[in-house]
Symmetry: C2
Subunit: 195 residues, 2 copies
DNA sequence: CCGAATGTATCACAGCTGTGATAGAACGGG
DNA sequence: CCCGTTCTATCACAGCTGTGATACATTCGG
């Protein structure tokens, strides 16, 4: 099979370029041309790796979702019910903090995700990914509450924690002057401590 | 002063048209042409009332923000510290519920606001309005917590409530199958009851 | 009644967008 | 070496976008 370049690596580079554009100028500005320019690729080359704008968008969003899901899952696997409560709360915060903009990587993820979530409302071709992400967050919240309290949480408590995390991420990204990343983590800690 | 039509009324009609388009297809699709069509106006006429797309956008967002702020303020003015705690919680929920999609009007507002908030991140010409809205929500949350607990709340508690409300609105609008409007109100009630 | 303000309507233009089509170049297996 | 796959690169096209300019109609004050 004739092949010079690593197609997988190229696709990843393109996705990174899309993320840079989306963070800098918004997801709406991440057109094939701007992403190609950012990746220092000809638009024709880009289209060799992604047949359409939709395919690129979906691939990039899936890459982001999978990356976050993997981090969350790794923390889920390491939860130890035998630990002291303080420690359990700390682990719980660290787990959900994977969804908060506590470092540059996560900030970029949350930033792009906000645009993506808004876009998915009116774009049928992205709805399934958004729904998957929303379900994943609720699963994590449920697991975290169970880990902290030792009992199965109510759907109300699950939604309370989920919406709190989503709101914190949203505000920390949109209004960093009002809500710093540290603030967001503090609020999350306060919430889980009081459960 | 020669005048046939009520310019103020026309502007309001245009804003309503913009809202319908934004709710249906997203704020990004609310171009001068689509809004003019929706308002059954010629684009030339529309531009007679709004010189530019930015002016229209700012006017529409300001109209929405003012309307919500007026409703919140009205409820703030009616808060009675002498009431029983149950009643105070109910009033508190009703106040912040002005920011939740509990009826069609509020649903449309929250829906458009989500798009607007995301857009404002990368659009300098809209940032001030978004900042004003964010500050307003925090003021309402602070007042609500003070009313329920009888003491001045910490910034952490204010942000916890603010982000919870924002997250609930976001999720109720983006994932109504996961979070109904009634769910959102239930969660808010649970939170304020436990304060 | 007539001129100016107000409102309605078109056209044109540059700048984007996604995408179809096409043409070569680079590469490696046979 | 040669042929087919892979990759890079361009052009063209229709469809949007905001906006400047312009023309015309309507309305009303003086």
């Amino acid at each position: 099979m004739p092949k010079k370049v690593d197609a997988e690596a190229r696709r990843r580079e393109v996705v990174e370029a899309l993320f840079r554009v989306a963070v800098r100028e918004g997801l709406a500005r991440a057109s094939l041309r701007t992403v190609a320019d950012e990746a220092q690729l000809n638009i024709g080359s880009l289209r060799h790796y992604f047949d359409s704008q939709l395919e690129l968008m979906r691939f990039a969003m899936r890459a982001m979702l999978d990356r976050v899901a993997a981090r969350v899952q790794a923390r889920l696997d390491r939860l130890d019910p035998a630990e002291q409560r303080d420690e359990r709360v700390r682990d719980a915060v660290a787990l959900l903090a994977e969804l908060l903009p506590l470092d540059e990587t996560r900030r970029d993820e949350v930033t792009v995700f906000v645009d993506f979530a808004a876009l998915s409302r009116t774009n049928p071709d992205l709805r399934d990914l958004a729904a998957e992400a929303a379900a994943g967050t609720r699963g994590a919240a449920r697991a975290v509450l169970a880990h902290v309290t030792g009992t199965a949480p109510s759907t109300t408590e699950v939604e309370r924690l989920t919406s709190l995390v989503d709101g914190l991420g949203l505000n920390a990204v949109l209004h960093p002057d009002l809500v710093s990343s540290a603030d967001a983590e503090r609020v999350l800690t306060a919430h889980l401590t009081s459960r």
